[in-house]
Point group: D2
Chain length 496, copies 4
């Protein structure tokens, strides 16, 4: 058993005010100890980032980008180790961890384009012989706080862009599965990043609050649950920082009668149960329009789920693995129980899966619940488990009203062949990421990720073009050179 610590100013550190167990969710056993950083350690990291800023800011963007090119190479070379680290602490099956890593690498690829992305706008002759242009300069030290469910990908949404824009960074990862996160950060050092530009501190609320209140932290990116997102957003803002805080989700798919039902079922299998449903883009509610569509979907899904295989992370024939903790396992089962008590029909029951050789693992099997209604607690809240609920309605408008009435607005999808239905849906639905026959409409790395309503607080989305604007501040220069011997008249009026 080893101690997972911090990366501060280029050094691996294990300072701790206390330690906390890290589990292997497949076995249910403690695998490592996490060093919990106190305020002093976090402040040291902030100091290191602050000290590293001037030189990094002055490094030309093309040279900063070249570190990202090398980082991409190293991530690809060390993919197997990263996938293993994710699996051991998160429980993700290797094909799924590979997908997560690939998405993270795509954000690094996008960061390699920094010289293009950082271009300002130049205007000749805004007035006679007066020019004006904008520069997008780095902010200084910025912080990222990331969740357990994508220990590789979500940090890679943040710091490659922040750093390539010229900032220095403090990352506070999840305390559940920090090892892959820390290892990846070490690879970036190996790629040639100067010490202090990226710092990783493991910790809890004390670490978070230190970041939120430090006058040296200019901006905060957060991904996690909505209540914490709200706290982060309000606190960072009250301290004068810019902030983007991504919260929870309850993503619905509408299944229209003209949908290719086999395709829809196949897509939903992955979208609902992949990664045990522990994704903020998991598709957890299917809204069927008309009972024929509802019956067909439930029947085909029930049949398809007979092939679903839940099990330990290290067997790649499994479709998905355990959930993150014992507590979370109980919470997910509790939601299934509540649905049953509220009158929904448990079509496929994953509450007591038997996983040979892993009896202590935190497993929940794939669960399908029919006849769910909007009043049920299992509908209102985010379950974050391998549970697909079916709500039956009579019209597409009724389905859209359901989605718009929900507090979250992260992702959604419609299954149809009809161009008009798809266009009406995508135009009007109050959700930030929309799929047309794409159940997990996660934007590619060169677009940006963000939900609406209570799924995101702030105005700029994560990664992609919006992240360039988030991690830079605009400076506008206006320039006129005095011509020799020409004496200009005073201008009292407002310049026009």
């Amino acid at each position: 058993m080893s101690i997972v610590g911090h990366l501060i100013n280029g050094e691996n550190r294990t300072d701790a005010t206390r330690h906390q167990d890290i589990f292997n969710p497949s076995t249910g056993q403690v695998s490592n100890q996490l060093a919990i950083a106190g305020k002093a350690t976090v402040e040291e990291a902030i100091e290191a980032a602050n000290a590293a800023f001037p030189a990094w800011r002055a490094t030309p963007p093309a040279k900063r980008a070249r570190v990202m090119f090398r980082f991409k190479e190293l991530l690809e070379q060390h993919a197997d180790k990263i996938i293993t680290l994710i699996g051991e602490e998160h429980g993700k099956i290797s094909h799924d961890a590979q997908g997560e890593l690939q998405r993270g690498i795509e954000s690094v690829e996008y960061a390699c384009g920094a010289p293009e992305l950082l271009k300002g706008e130049h205007s000749r002759n805004v007035g006679p012989s007066i020019d004006s242009w904008s520069e997008f300069q780095p902010l200084g030290v910025v912080a990222g706080i990331t969740p357990f469910n994508f220990p590789a990908m979500v940090p890679l949404w943040m710091y490659p862009m922040a750093i390539v824009c010229g900032n220095t960074f403090i990352l506070k990862p999840s305390e559940r599965d920090p090892s892959s996160t820390l290892f990846i950060a070490q690879l970036l050092e190996e790629a040639g990043l100067p010490p202090g530009v990226l710092n990783v501190v493991n910790g809890d609320k004390e670490a978070v609050d230190t970041l939120l209140h430090s006058p040296k932290i200019q901006a905060v990116s957060f991904v996690g649950s909505t209540p914490i997102a709200e706290y982060i957003y309000a606190t960072a803002s009250a301290n004068g920082k810019r902030c983007q805080a991504l919260g929870g989700a309850k993503n619905h798919a509408i299944v229209l009668p003209d949908a290719d039902m086999d395709n829809a079922v196949n897509q939903l299998l992955g979208a609902a149960f992949g990664s045990s449903g522990e994704r903020c883009m998991a598709l957890s509610v299917a809204v069927t329009v008309g009972n024929a569509a509802g019956d067909a979907l439930v029947a085909k899904m029930k049949q398809a789920m007979t092939g679903l295989k839940v099990g330990a992370h290290n067997d790649s024939s499994n479709d998905f693995g355990p959930v993150i903790t014992k507590q979370h396992q109980e919470k997910v089962v509790g939601y299934i129980n509540s649905a049953e008590e509220d009158g929904a029909k448990i079509v496929v029951d994953g509450r007591n899966p038997k996983i040979a050789g892993f009896s202590e693992g935190f497993f929940v099997g794939g669960t399908l619940i029919d006849n769910v209604t909007p009043e049920m607690i299992s509908y209102k809240e985010e379950i974050f488990g391998p549970v697909l609920q079916v709500v039956r309605v009579e019209s597409m408008q009724e389905a859209m009203n359901l989605i718009d009435a929900h507090e979250y607005g992260n992702g959604t999808c419609v299954f149809t062949r009809d161009g008009e239905a798809a266009r009406y849906f995508s135009d009007h639905i109050q959700v930030g990421m929309v799929g047309i026959n794409v159940p997990l409409p996660v934007p590619v790395a060169y677009h940006s990720f963000g939900g609406w309503k209570r799924s995101l607080f702030g105005d700029l989305h994560a990664y992609g073009p919006d992240s360039v604007r988030f991690y830079t501040k605009r400076k506008t220069i206006t320039q006129r050179w005095p011509s020799t011997g020409v004496r200009e008249g005073a201008e009292f009026a407002f310049p026009s």
Copy 2:
């Protein structure tokens, strides 16, 4: 004497919980009464804006832009009336009010380009036969809260862009000089804007707080002083809204020894005393490098100021007019007194200007103070009056350190002929708007306006390109059409 009221749902209204005097600062007399809206009136405006939103959102951007084209025509036709209204309540001389209006019109011109500005990004084949694109959709109802010093221009920074992006708007103008603001809003109705899309409510903190706490308000733009900006930003953010809040300033010009001194003096005259210094971009501190430059600047400025003419708004031969209130006049004089007490030298004293025929007006004459030091209260705080202070230093770096140490970072300028000095300054100075021999480096309408440090809270600047992003939310659509008869395999792994 008439009552200045509100514009709600296309109707002129005078609801009031109470009334407040509006003064003509040139005469010192009460000229009009302002109707102060209570919570119910503000909520009625919000309801009107909310009801107008769906139809306005569905109006094609090109048609929305055509309303702005007509608005521009009307603003030009009614320029004289607007200038008079500004002069009567703010005290601005006509040439200055004309400049303000012109700058406001330029923001309307920019809004006319909405169809271009609202384009999303389209990617063919983000995967095989999968496309993805972004749309920048309106937020809903948004609010603007604006200051007294530019009653025409600052509101025009906000609502033309917000509205042309498809939002509906509530404007809460300054209670000091609301008449030109209201008249301009009426012109936009005349230009063809549907009722309820733009609403104006006059009021005080009750009105502001109603806006900040209403769940129907999606975003808030504010321009005013820093303490209020902080309050607005923290409160709006705590309520989950996006917010941009622009605060105070203390804008320094560095005068290098190689500067064209006559040109610098002429530029500074307008930048320091124009509009009585009541501009967030007023140039209020000159930092001279080397005593030769300091002596030359003070001597030439003193000489130039003999021609400065302060007086009533309606005499266009005046250079600038009164300050906004009796209280503010006393505050400005208090800062001059404090500088004198702190040991600075009052080179030109504007404390008791005699304005024939306007003995009750709120006048302060142009004032030049030499030998100011950073410890003085008159240096630390924003005076917002016709006062230019000179600080003498020995090097450009010392001058830059002064600027970077100040809490504000709105605008700044360097006077020089030297390319290297200008580039070093513009690159490194911690200020958002930088002039090279341009003392009021207000970005043109097709760039964006914003300071750094405690001069702006938020991540997106006012007007120009940033305002498009501020007033819209990003939606990303990912689309794949199922091909007939092709049955795709389930995808459990994360999509890559």
Copy 3:
């Protein structure tokens, strides 16, 4: 009868080497005389444009744009006169001329956004303390040569953008209907354009060749037939100029079995017969997939065409007017005859329309031809008349192969409800402008217009974003300021 002449250096001129009749196509009578400019007159215009260039180039873009804002106002004020002038010389019905003018105005609206569109790209620190940026500077004198079918719109595609980018312009309009073109150019002068910036010369091949060979002409935009477009492109290029030359078209609509057939018929009526089919975007071939679709389309179209009304331009109840000349009338009828001889079926025959009171007008009635095959001359060539031909095929792929095999690739359309069919079509079809249920997919003014294959020669399309790049040349500046006293080492290696 009056003489239609030129606009050179702000003066109306009637220089002529000879004169040519202008007809009113509705009456078949000569209405005006056109002054044909010889080489000397064209060279005078070029000189005027060349002399006007330096001052216009130095005028800030925002001021240039303001001339366009005023131009738009004047176009709207004088719409009735313009519509009448178009009708008298082209034969277009007022509602159609109004549509043409509106599209032209939209290009002027786009030109009003010049300050935004002309922004260059600025990069800080391309190397240590080295900056680089691009400017898009005007070319100098550029020329436009325009066709008869849109005497208002096509010139407005060209010169507003060319001029707002800082160029000066020579327009050589069609000799058939020059009056509206000339009148509109005069309005731009009235809007405040300095003399010489826009010049109009009427003429023939001598005028065109003078433009193509003048070393002072930097670029040529052309819209007309493909053989002339090829000549213009090759000749301008051989003279070292940049050139964009738009030629002919043969636009097909595919009607799939799932199309909303009533909608398709209604759309095709306007697209095939509007403006007598004298549009390069006219929809002249309907390709039906499956005989059921073919039968239904022909039957419904035949029925719908009973309400089609052809007649003189001044009766707004008419659907369309005469063709442009007696010769063209005979040519169109010749194509109908040839189709009949080749075995096609004339379902609706417009060869001898009786128009009461206009027996000498150049009329052809709406004509529907079924069972057309690709070998027929009427299929291969552009008819440019009110003739819709139906080709019947068995599959969508067969329909697409037909389109891709045709020499032209201007516009095309598919009628369907199916998302997959639409996406496959729009992705793969070798045509530059594609409609999904939009039979005239003319891009709006803020996109760009251009076909593929032999419908356009050059790399940049007309109007919209591409026109900014066409009418400007890129200048890239790289800047490093020497720091005092620092002596840099010689660099023999290639800079990196």
Copy 4:
């Protein structure tokens, strides 16, 4: 001695109609034989490229970009071999070849950003429920014809962008030094490029004309001398292709009296003599303003040139190597002779350099000529050798007039400290690439490269943003879905 051949459809080939000697310019000896492809071989390459197009076009841009990421890695791994190959056939010293390769790699880095660069523009609601967007689709097979002086870099300006945009490519490199070019192309295959996407054919005019006349070639990029550029541009255009053809140069630096003279001399040493002056961006004329500046420059330059070392490519202590051929050596010496005969003063004479051990090499030493005038043949023509000529004038305007009067307009530079002089120069000079104290203002890879006047034919510049537009064609889609049961009225008027 080996045979340097072709790369066609992924295979190395040595087809030849005849063979031609390749020399090592340092030794003057034949080192290899070049296989000269005839028409049939070129057509085979075109067929291969044409066959590879559909699958490559359908490959998602992000996957195409990943081949470029791997290509960059391989270029860096094999840098030493590439540098050696360049040196052996071109004569470039290793530090210079390294610089060339690095610049080429930067264009590959830019190509890695293809997913971002290929984004189209999406407009929601161009009309009610009508959307429109643009796609930038590949052209098909495109060709590049490249010069001897940058055998690695100039091809890398072209095909990485062309290929990553989805095109397939035929490269015809210089016959003087093809080995590094061919080796690099093989690395791209190794990086995973499918066979046929990139093809290299070595040849002469027969190969070039086959490319220019093939209907399957959609576009041609050329870099070389101006007479050939004109031929390529006119011929490609007459065949309906798009073309960009870059030609010769005569780049002037203006040395103002306030310049940092030591810095200017150091910069000019590298810019005039680096790579033996065989660069289209070589700085070959220094224009001094005022005799003091002239005298100082010539004196300091003469002194500095005593340290200049010319010699064989494989000794990295040399500053520059031989010129490319015996014939070119004689031509350069001829220009020096003519200048002497025309009355110029040979200050430093490089006509007979003695290089120990390389008596047969094609060497010319660094040469400085003073008192050159615009009438001299050595001033008018491009020398392309290590010769710096000094022209003395009395004013900056006179210097600028000289530059503007020259037929070429590729690059230029001003040495000054004065902001106003720099801005006036960069704004007004009729040259496409401008340096402020940067004597070789080659734009970085994320800007674009191109001269003005007779230095470039076409409208789009090489590499960077312009190359994306050059290597793609715009498609604009307009989409409306018919709503169920709604029957729309016919539209005869032009749509508005």
